[in-house]
Each structure stands twice: as C-alpha cells, then as structure tokens.
Amino acid sequence: MNFDKLFSLAKEKGIEDLQIHYVKDNELEIEVFGKEVNKYSIASPSSLRVKGIYDGKMGTVSTEKIDDTMHDFIVDSIIDSAKFIENNDEVFIYEGDDNYSLVEGLYNSKIEDIENTKKINDTLELEKMVLAQDERVKMVQAFYGETKRDVVIKNSKGLDLKKTVNNAVFGAYVIASDGDDQRTGLEYIQSNDYKDFNFEKMAKESAEKACGLLGAGPCDSGEYEILLENDASASLIAAYLSIFSAESVQKDVSLLKGKLNTKIANDIITLVDDPFMKKSVKSGSFDDEGVSTKYKEVVSKGVLTTYLHNLKTAKKDGIASTGNGYGNGIAPSNLYIKPGKHKKEEVIAGINKGLLITSLAGLHSGANAISGDFSLQATGYLIEAGKITSPVALITVAGNYLDLMNNVVGVCDDIKYNFNYIGSPSIHIKSLSVSGK
C-alpha cells in the first residue's frame, strides 16, 4: 500500500493527524501426535490498524486487505468512527520521544536458518521422550511454534519506528491414565534461541505433571495453607490484569481505584513491568503509540506505585505515559512478580496441613476483576506434615485477590512465564477457603 497517498487523502478529507500501525508476521506451527505430524502450518498474515484525529476525536479502523483500493474505506471509516465517539478525553498522535532505549536480543535470525525438517524431527523426538518417561503416559501432543514479527509505526507528525522480534516455543501436552483415572499435564519453553530448548526437562516435567495427578479427588472442605505454584499464580495475575490499567481505574471498574501509593500487598510482593526483557516478543523500546517504554515496579514492596498508562489516561491524570499503550488500549509488556529466595521444597516442608495448587481453571468466569472475588476450580496436592501426600482435583478455592496478595507469606525463586509473558514464582499464602467433599 502506498502510505503517502493514504496520508494525503486523509488530510484532504479533514483528518488532522493520522497514524498507521502495520504488523507482518511469519509463522510456523508443528504439532505431533501418535508419532505423526498432526499439524503443520505456515502463514504470513499482515494487518494494518489506522487511527486518525477528526474534529478532536480519535477514529479507528483495521484491515487485512492492504492495498491502494482500501484508501477510501480507511479514511471514511475513521471519519465515521470519530463522528460518533462521545468520550471527550483529549486524544493524541504522538510526535515521538528524543531517545528510545536500545533493546537487544529481541530478534535472533539463527532460529530461521534451522531447517523445518529438523524442527519436525525434534518435535517427534520430544513426543517419543515424553512417552518413554512413564508407562502411564498414554498420549502426547508435542508442539513447536515460531513467529517472526515486523512492526512499523508511522504518523503524520514524523514518527517513523520499526522493530523486528521473534520467538519460538516447544512444548508437550500429556494425557496419563491408570485405567480408572485420566489426567493431563503441559510443559513448555519459550525462547528465540534454539539452544534454550531443554527437551529432557520438558519431557520429564510434563509427564510428571500428568502422572502425579492420577487418582486425584476432592479433599475435605476447610481452610488450608496454600503454596500456589508458579503457573497457577501467573494465571491468576493474568485474570486480574485489568485492575492495573489506568483506563479501568478512570472508568471505575478497577478495585485499585484510590489505592495509589497505598499498600495493596504484603511487603514481599514486587510486581515489575519490564519492556526490556530479552527473548520476549512483548519487549521493545516503544509501545503502539510510539512512546518510549520504561522499566517500572508497579507494586513496590507491597505499595502500588503506578497504574499502567497510555497517552490519554496519563494526560487525564496529569502525568507522563508509562509506555503501555498497546492495541487501542492499555496492556503490560512483560509483567511479573519478582522472585524471592525461598525454595519450593522448603516451603512444603514447613506446611503442616496445606495444599500445593498446580493449576487453576475457570479464570475467565470465576475471577471477578471488579470486586476481586474469585472462586476457581483447582488441582494440586495435599500437603500433610511437610510432605506431599495425595493428588487433589475437583475442588474450588475461593477468596479475594487483594486479600490473597496481603496474605502472601513467602515468595519462591522459581519464576515462570505464561504464553503472554505474565510471570510469577510460586507464592506461599497464609490461607484460602477450599470447597471439596
């Protein structure tokens, strides 16, 4: 598409300022099942998001048909969009910052030089390794995924930014069965360096996750001391992401409203948003608005120090954007609870009656981001007298997210990130209400 023509057509029709956000991906996906390649997918999708200020309002449009025949559709849609928006917040097309941090290690071309046949063979090999772990492993779906992403942002104020990131993931989804019971486990590693893929570790851990849970059933209802494993804790943070967004706060749909610079968590909790993390596709020196990104402790030793802002919400609060303008809203870059020093094994050894929770389900419905209340299906293990005794499933744990963050009594050293780069170590919680049998 001829962008210059688009910019001049926009100007002609009365759009004051215009910005384009163009993304071109190259993707490879391999999935292996039953010693066969079950899925092999190659794709080169691209998308264009355009926004423009018309009569003081920000109009938006997006398209996957990206050629010169789309100019009128784009410009007319932006005007139609701007005409009906009633939110009177001041809107911005950003002229750019003087400096952008140099972020290294986001693109590693070496991974593309590796033949697809090797990637297929390694995926097949991973399946084989998982199957060999335990005779109760009945089925394995091993997978590999690779994405290269080129991003271009240009606007009528002269901003012209580019970045390229890439990332790959290997993983195994396991179904184990002992004849009576069937359980699942998932383990994966994300990186853009092929050397980071530790197949033995993935094979061992994914098989253990599924087999360990065989025979699980509900435990007695009651209050339990909890060790929330890294994956499960990260999934809970992900469910409560919106509470950190200044947009949610300003619209009164965040339970953190009015809590800035107050204690919202135990002193041992520090929550970091780190746009400079290596090997992550979420990293970069600028956000989607072209604002330079910043490392920040959103929660510092239990105190909420900032919300996540884009240009619009920052202006409203009279501060600078935190560089979290992603999509047409607000999102973190790489968000994680800073790991502590505790070892998981030590924490378990110190619990007399408790639960190790390895996964939570129902997060999109059972976790209320407005009240903070949650009631979630949990899976894990009973801890008795400092030892893991039996697997537990079909229970629910209930509580309130802020209460939980205040009741954290220990943070472990085993940080892990989900597919969206939300990370957490395992966290030790004083108690949660468990509903079982």
């Binding site: 999708p45 398209t63 059972g366 509903s435």
Partner: protein
C-alpha cells in the same frame, strides 16, 4: 474474490506431489464493533478481515497455510510450499470445480451496511438508558454492539465449490450495581444470524438491558453461597453451557479421534440418564450458530447426539472421519481463514423433558437454583468442568429462597449426565462464543430447566 481458474491452479499445484485432498477457503468479512461505557460512546470501529487458507491432505494428515497476499504468485508459492510435505508417486486426479453453489438459508432483511452508524449507536444508547433506569443501584453500564457479514468461498479437489454468507448481529450489556464498597455485575447478550431487523422483530433492547440490570441488583443483595455437595437445579437457556462445555466438546471428533475423550468407544452405550436427549443442529433458521454450509463446504445438518441416554452420534469433520473410519457429520467449522477447520458444535442443546419447572423446584428439599450461568471451562481429557453461577438462589423445602452469589459448580461431564434426574419442558437457547483449536465461533447453547441430583458447589460461605 479469486477467479475460478486461479483456485483450480492452486488446487492442482497443491496435489502435484501426491496429496489426495486440497481445499481453498477464501474469506472476506466486514465487521462493525461499537462500545459504550459511562453513557458515552467509546469505540466505533470498522474492520475488514480478508485472506485465503489452503489445506492439503493425504489421508487424515494435513498441512495448512494462509496469507492475505492473494496475488497468483503468492498463492502458488503457498500451494507449492505446502505440497512439499508430500512425496507420493500416486497422484490424485482433479477434474476442476463444479458450478458455484450459493448458500440460501438464513436470509436476513436488513444488511448491516445498509444501516447508518447513528442507528447502530442508538441501540447502545437505548440499552444504557434502560439499564440505568432499572434501579438507582445500577452505577455503571457497559455495552457492546457488533455486526458482521462474513462471505466465504470454499473449493476443494473433489470439485466442491460453494459460497456462503453469514450475517450476525449481537449486543451485550454488562450492568454493575453497587452499594458502598460492594459491586456485583450482571450480563445479558442476545444475538443471532440476523441483520438489523434483529432489534425490531426479534428482541427488545430495553428488555435485554433490564435483564442485565436485574441480575446485578439481585446479586448485590445476595449472600455468599454456601459450599458442599447438593442437588442443583440449572435453569433453561444459558444453563446449557454446562452440557456444551462438559459433554459437547468431548463428543467432537477432534477429541474423540485421538482417543482423548471420556466418550471414546461409547457409541451405542448409555452415557446419560435415559431422560436425556441431546441435539446439535446447525440448520435452525437464523440461529446464532447456524449457516447454510459448514466451513468445509458441506450443507449443515442436525445431529442427534444422545437419544434416551444412549450416545448415538459424535460430531465429525472430514479428516477426522477418515481417522475414525466413520462418516463426517457436516461439523467442520473455523473462526476464519487463519484456522484449519475441525469438528465443532453449532447450536447444541438438551431437548425438552416432561416435568415442569414448578415440579422440579417443589421436588427439591434443599439445593442450589442456578438461574443464570456464567462462563466456565472443561478439560476435555478428564471431563472436569467448572462454571460460575451468575445468579443463584437457595432452594429450601421445595421453594426458591434467598439469592446467593459467588457460586461455582464443579464436576465431571460423564457423572453429571448420569445424575440429571429431572428435565422440564421449557427449552430455550442462548448465545455464546465457543473457543477451541479452530478459533472462536458463534454457538448456541441451550436446555430446559434440569436437575442434577448432586454436584459440588463452591462458595465463599463455607460448608453448611
């Protein structure tokens, strides 16, 4: 749109190395998404989704690729790259495409692009006004409005060449009621395969908004739900989400063909209480999950999944049918050209029984009445499910008593099916978005009021 000759060239190229099946899926979709919060229009966005997906298979093994660069050069390169996964001496013959067959079911009266943006925005304004007027305790209302026209062309090496237009319209209202620091929300989101006539002929947007407000206000005055094992009466409509998640997904070939479902090898056996009849029907006129053709170009159909408690049919797509050595059931669906199709539900529901709603409540001494279900999820391998109850009440001595909030239902699909011991005669369907390996697709869920004799209820009040 691509011309027929080019599609034929792409299919020929895809078959050139010995694959026995090739398919081209072309999508051109216009969508409007609107959003309102705090009584102000917040987002007005048009979008155009456009691209081509190519699937090449030998037996049940397939490879998939997609692009939105649709020049002959790019498409031929994609077909060629995909064909490189095969190396067979036997070549499958392709005799060109048939005459284009155009989908003609689910006609709409007013296409979305014939309606001004102003009229669409007005739907949200009416909903907002109505929800706020419902009660002073309603302090926030957010509303979305969406419509789209998805045009697809599906062509394959068997000569199939079809075109289908799916028009869909939906609005969702989320009301928040508050009192002091307490906040509770209620949601209602009706939709269908309709154009803008949906708002004049099918629903009343004010009533829909009031329903969301009513739930929020009711829950604001509810106590925490007690936890423990108890009988649960799940009301008609969205209550069917439990069957959808906990049983429906396990009856999809994507799970059954791999032996990953608890219902593998159970065809012809009793898997539910004999009261239970369950149906997946993609032909219901203008229903949210209906279409003339499925996304593999086959005419949608009606599938009887469970008859008198006996498993009678899975939902099967073309390639899994080969893997299972069974017939496909016109169940191949996908979100967009970015996904290879697989077996999916359309409009799935438990059919009417013979009890009445009043009889079921009267027959329950103590239990939970789940009037509105929220979302939930299920592990298809284990059948373990969890669902949030959006609006719940305690049943005491055969009568609906105080409202309760924060309830979660936990169980396994196969146990719950066997424990359904009463089914009413008030079947109703509601709309949902169903997410799975071929993306997020519209699907109706539904049921009459049912009773499950015993279920684990999670709540914050603790055991009674």
């Amino acid at each position: 749109m691509l011309n027929k000759k080019l599609i034929e060239k792409v299919i020929t190229k895809a078959l050139s190395t010995g694959a026995d099946f090739a398919e081209v899926f072309i999508e051109d979709k216009f969508a409007t998404n609107l959003n309102m919060i705090s009584s102000k229009v917040e987002k007005v966005n048009n979008s155009r989704i456009f691209g081509v997906g190519v699937r090449v298979a030998l037996g049940y093994n397939s490879v998939y690729g997609y692009t939105n660069d649709v020049s002959e050069k790019d498409l031929m390169k994609l077909a060629s790259d995909l064909s490189m996964s095969f190396n067979e001496s036997n070549k499958t013959e392709f005799n060109g495409l048939n005459e284009l067959e155009i989908g003609d079911l689910h006609k709409v009266k007013i296409l979305p692009h014939e309606v001004s943006m102003e009229n669409k925005v007005n739907i949200m304004k009416r909903a907002d006004k109505s929800a706020r007027a419902y009660s002073k305790e309603v302090t926030q209302v957010s509303i979305y409005y969406l419509d789209y026209v998805q045009n697809v062309w599906i062509a394959n090496s068997e000569g199939k060449y079809v075109q289908d237009q799916r028009v869909r319209t939906r609005s969702g209202i989320n009301a928040i009621a508050s009192k002091g620091n307490e906040k509770q929300s209620g949601f209602y989101g009706p939709g269908g395969s309709y154009g803008f006539e949906f708002y004049s002929e099918i629903i009343n947007i004010e009533e829909a908004a009031n329903e969301a407000a009513r739930i929020a206000v009711t829950m604001l005055h509810a106590e925490e739900c007690p936890s423990g094992e108890m009988p649960v009466v799940i009301d008609n409509g969205f209550g069917g989400v439990i069957f959808h998640e906990a049983c429906g997904h396990s009856l999809e070939a994507s799970s059954v063909a791999k032996g990953a479902s608890v219902f593998c090898g159970k065809k012809g056996t009793l898997i539910a209480n004999p009261l239970v009849n369950a149906i997946d029907d993609g032909t219901i006129a203008n229903a949210w999950g209906s279409s003339t053709f499925d996304d593999e170009g086959n005419r949608q159909s009606k599938r009887e999944l469970i008859k008198n408690g006996v498993l009678t049919s899975y939902m099967i797509d073309k390639l899994n049918a080969i893997r299972m050595n069974d017939e496909h059931t016109n169940s191949g669906r996908r979100e967009s050209y970015k996904f290879s199709p697989t077996s999916r539900m359309s409009n799935t529901f438990i059919d009417n029984g013979e009890s009445t709603f009043d009889e079921i409540i009267a027959a329950t001494k103590y239990g939970l009445y789940a009037k509105k279900m929220g979302g939930g999820s299920v592990n298809p391998a284990t059948g373990d499910f969890n669902f949030a109850v959006g609006e719940g009440y305690i049943i005491r001595d055969g009568k609906i008593a105080e409202p309760v909030r924060g309830a979660t239902l936990v169980g396994t699909g196969k146990d719950a099916l066997l424990k359904i011991d009463m089914i009413a005669n008030n079947l109703k369907t509601e709309q949902g978005m169903c997410g799975s390996s071929s993306g997020s697709i519209p699907a109706d869920v539904g049921q009459p009021t049912i009773r499950v004799s015993s279920m684990t209820v999670g709540g914050r009040k603790g055991a009674n």
